[in-house]
Amino acid sequence: MKKYLLKRIGVSIVTLLAILLILFCMLEFMPGSPFNDEKLTADQVAVLNAKYGLDKPTIVRFGNYIKNMLTGDFGVSYTISKNTPISTLLQSRLPISIRIGGQAVLLGTLIGLILGIIAALKHNTIWDTLTTIISVLGVSLPSYVFALLLSYSLGFKLKWFPLLYAVDSPLNSSVLPTVALCMFTVATIARFTRTEMLEVLGSDYMLLAESKGISGPQLIIKHALRNALIPIITVLAPLIVGLMTGSLVIEKIFSIPGIGSLLVTAIQSNDYNVIIALSFIYSAMYIGIILVVDILYGVIDPRIRLAKGDGNE
């Protein structure tokens, strides 16, 4: 297991570097520069380029960049907020995005699992149909539709929750965006859980567990859910990443000062460093989540864990 872990972490780092290279190259080949102002003379642009190190050869800049990235220095923003270090920009925004995304993942997975289990246990009843309808709605309607629906009904009409995110009341004002974000997760997890649980419930080992006399939560959770979880975890990783990108729109609607809205602004204003820093963070999160999922597999499924060289046969 240890050897496997080290190998997986190594692969993750290499992947991250490859992503950095791709990001860097893409921006290199893009037309335009951060200094597109017509009032600037060529000399002034040259001075600015020299100041920010943009006149150096590509390879040197890339090398510098990696070095800075690994030490947590993402450089300074060119246009959004002049000369502010990006790490300062992120400091206030990243936690907000991660919190709302995390809330949505947790809430969505929990509700999705519960719905899926109920649907499987009450297979072919009204509860099953209801869950299926929720799943279809959740998958087919984009999150901003839910966001608008929620804003209008719970925010505007009933005035239960504020319409916009407020930094001074982070919990209350993050309810609507969290719910809007988690709908897709709820739907996907519920659908998968239902299918997997149905398959597991019909398996021989469930029959054996029942014939041992096991019933109730121990039967459902220890025997059924644990086996059903393995494929569910596979869909969870892309879902979490989906929440990060889905949050771009949601952050705009609820005017949340997160990294999603920062990315949109950065792209619009060609702010190289901010784009690279955010893409890097997104990629790092993605790779990190996949790593965690891979490790989780091993924890849940002994067949995978032991195949990795810990078995005694």
Partner: protein, 359 residues
């Protein structure tokens, strides 16, 4: 119910709701099992053997419905009244009082009947902890003993193994250990050797027989393998299309079969002296139980069928004190019909061999 009887199934009738309509899978099954004895239930696929067992265990699939009948069970253990009708217990009571604790079951395919994400130790100990709140240490000790009892070497090491690390034969031994964990009084073996290769089959049969003797439990075997029956059973019940057509002591069924279906089954069993080019098969296929069966269900495949077979279902005729068969051929007005000559020759050969073995 007699004193010595542990299980008595009376008039059991079960149907399933399917897309094709109502299927009457079990159409009036009766049999008794005495304490410490073994009954084998024989029949081809779809004859209702497994369904009857699932009804005993209370694990019928959700579209199954018990229409009538009783499954009386009498326990020698304390904390239970005399005879109880298992069909009257709800699922919760069934799991708490009966499953695993008093009646345990061994399934057909050991490759799929163990939970892949639990160690075998945990799976053996689970029942004890669940039913008796056995402390962990004690349960562990007992689980190791059980593994040794079912013939698994380095039991301690195996406790930590997962099912995928064991071979098919070993897994079936583990399933048996799980079944024995709470000292059941009745063990149901649903084709326990079908999925195993031949060399392992005999060992598992020996093991079950051995354990039965040691722990004094009653056993129900479900099988379509007459070789297994001859090896393990005291009693045999032959099932066809959801009914028991003939039942009796193992010698009565093998040497003096009365029902044409039993004749067919015995004739279709190859043995070392079978030197014909063709193996005998019973013509036709079992009836579709979606449709109501008029008369004897076996009549369309029966070359000995009488006219009445198509109209009226035969009752159980008593042949001897223990031997019953449901065929009109046994009625006093029926023409005298003997079993087929080839079968007769084989029976005599078997009898001769049995005598030789006895000497």
């Amino acid at each position: 119910m007699e004193k010595n009887t542990i299980l008595s199934i009376q008039d059991l009738s079960i149907s399933f709701t399917t897309g094709a309509g109502e299927v009457s899978a079990i159409r009036g099954v009766n049999f008794d099992l005495h304490r410490g004895e073994t009954i084998a239930i024989v029949g081809e696929s779809g004859s209702g053997k497994s369904v009857t067992m699932k009804a005993i265990m209370g694990i019928l699939s959700s579209n199954g419905k018990v229409n009538s009948g009783k499954i009386l069970f009498s326990s020698a253990k304390e904390d239970m009244e005399e005879d109880i009708d298992l069909l009257k217990l709800d699922k919760k009571e069934m799991r708490r009082k009966i499953n695993g604790k008093r009646i345990a079951m061994i399934f057909q395919d050991p490759m799929t009947s163990l939970n892949p994400v639990m160690t075998i130790g945990a799976q053996i100990m689970e029942g004890m902890k669940w039913h008796y709140k056995t402390p962990k240490k004690e349960a562990y000790k007992r689980a190791v003993e059980l593994l040794q009892l079912v013939g698994i070497t380095d039991a301690e090491k195996r406790m930590k193994n997962y099912p995928h690390q064991l071979s098919g034969g070993m897994r079936q031994r583990v399933v048996i250990a799980i079944a024995l964990a709470c000292n059941p009084e009745l063990l149901i073996c649903d084709e326990p050797t079908t999925a195993l290769d031949v060399t392992i089959q005999a060992k598992i049969l020996e093991l079950i027989k051995d354990i039965q003797k040691k722990l004094d439990i009653s056993v129900i075997y479900i099988t379509h393998d007459l070789g297994v029956v001859a090896k393990v059973a005291d009693y045999v019940a032959v099932m066809y299309a959801g009914k028991i057509v003939e039942k009796g002591l193992v010698n009565e069924i093998f040497y003096e079969p009365k029902h044409p279906y039993t004749w067919g089954l015995l004739s279709a069993m190859p043995d070392l002296d079978t030197n014909d080019d063709k193996l005998y098969t019973i013509p036709g296929t079992p009836p579709n139980l979606v449709n109501k069966v008029a008369g004897d269900a076996f009549a369309p495949r029966n070359i000995f069928a009488l006219n009445i077979d198509n109209r009226l279902e035969p009752p159980m005729f008593q042949v001897s004190e223990t031997h019953f068969a449901s065929t009109w051929l046994l009625h006093e007005n029926a023409p005298k019909t003997e079993m087929p000559v080839e079968l007769k020759a084989r029976v005599e050969r078997m009898l001769g061999e049995a005598k030789k073995d006895g000497e």
